[in-house]
């Protein structure tokens, strides 16, 4: 372990100890804030439960995110290449983004039911916009001199798209995915809050309702862990686009 990681690790250990002992020292009641150790014990004891609900939320997030990627990229490309789409789809997308999506959650539950589908739709709605904007940005940042060069090489629009625009848009797209992935997690959790039978959001509600704060925090840690895992997954996949940092 090098010096930098050591410092980071030490900081978080100290933060954890401060939590643990200040809760005990000030005699905070455990349904308000349980000591950190209680949360770890709860996570271990309820590991099967947590794992089960994590998988459900993971499933919702992944499907919603992938839908957002497919549709987001398609719509960004349409807006970029078709003037009519720029005049119609683009304002629609901006308008939809301005609707507070949390406010949409109840009606989404009414439309798509209590099951997985409504959470997928919520995850999609949260992840969609950053992907459209990032992809659009990526497509329009293709250097002008390279476009002229492809023109000089008499490349067709199709060739220019695949060999130039797509690779030069990929770095922005990856950055967009990094923003969109945690958003998709938030979307799924919000969907589970508003109406569901399972998933980590549901578990948080149940635990809080029965004053089991340790389980509430254990579920929150699970959500956070899930979100971090997915973020680093994108980061890892993003390494294939290594010219991002050049």
């Amino acid at each position: 372990m090098n010096r930098d990681t050591l410092q980071t690790a030490l900081f978080f250990v100290l933060l954890g100890l401060a939590w643990e002992y200040s809760v005990k020292f000030f005699e905070v009641r455990s349904y308000i804030l349980p000591p950190l150790s209680d949360i770890f014990v709860e996570m271990w004891d309820s590991r099967a439960l947590l794992w089960q609900h994590t998988l459900i939320t993971l499933n919702e997030v992944l499907i919603g995110f992938l839908l957002a990627v497919v549709l987001g990229v398609a719509i960004a490309a349409a807006i970029f290449f078709l003037p009519i789409a720029k005049r119609t789809l683009y304002p629609t997308v901006i308008g939809l983004q301005s609707v507070p999506k949390i406010g949409l959650a109840p009606i989404i539950i009414v439309w798509f039911g209590y099951g997985v589908l409504s959470k997928v739709v919520m995850a999609f709605l949260f992840a969609f916009f950053p992907i459209v904007i990032a992809t659009l940005g990526g497509l329009s940042t293709t250097p002008e001199h390279l476009i002229e060069h492809f023109q000089a090489l008499r490349a067709s629009r199709w060739t220019t798209f695949w060999k130039l625009r797509v690779p030069s848009a990929l770095p922005n797209f990856v950055d967009g995915c990094k923003v969109a992935m945690p958003m998709a997690v938030i979307g799924a959790i919000v969907g589970e809050f508003v109406g569901s039978n399972d998933g980590l959001g549901n578990l948080i509600l149940l635990a809080t309702g029965s004053s089991n704060s340790s389980l509430t925090f254990a579920s929150l840690f699970a959500v956070t862990g899930l979100s971090l895992f997915l973020f680093f997954l994108i980061e890892l996949l993003g390494r294939f686009v290594w010219w991002r940092s050049r």
Binding site: H145, E148, L153, R154, R246
Partner: protein, 255 residues
Amino acid sequence: MMSSQTAISMENVTKTFGGPGGVTALKDVSFEVADQEFVSILGPSGCGKSTALRIVGGLLEWEKGEVAVVGQSLQGPSDDAGIVFQTANLLPWRNVVDNLLLGVEIHKDYLPAAKEKLPEMLQTLGLQEFEAAYPHELSGGMRQRVAIGQALMRNPRVLLMDEPFGALDALTRDRLNVELLRIWQAEKKTVVLVTHSIAESIFLSDRVLVMSERPGTIVEDIRIDLPRPRDPRATREDPAFGNYLVQLSEIMGVM
């Protein structure tokens, strides 16, 4: 060196940017470049010399006049011309070899034949050990050599160069000038080079066309009678070189 065949001809070309009443970039520009001739277009910045080159390269439309490349009236970019710009147009996600092959790939030429040519091309460019390197791992001069190589890969008759060494330091620039002459002689190309360096234009060219400030027009056509092959030292020490330098500097109004 000269052959009677004409590689490029431009006749009374006028080009205006921004529609009627816009800026006239070129006014009645006429010149001819013979096959395998090395011609420089010299002029102050903003005089339209790059515009002229882009028209020959088929990248810009023009209003009036005739342009022909290798005897064919121009309709967009020609297969007979390769273009090298001031910025080396390399794709950052492709290594040297894949960048060299870009033009071949886009034109769907026969790839195995092009690949057979690679070792020789890498040697000509002095990039043998860098075939797998990516653009960010190369120096500015090396990047520009790759760009020249890419243009040469499809074996065009004409090489159009828009201040290809303008962004490089003086030392690299001098070295690449010598290499360019070597490549030009080995590959027997017609070269049109746009530059604002008087010394560079004399050192490289058979003829120097001097353009006036906007609206650009060719004001002088000077034949450079210096022996070939040219040598960075001997050529510059030739009294004739000094005379051309004085003559062109006077025309350009810098002396």
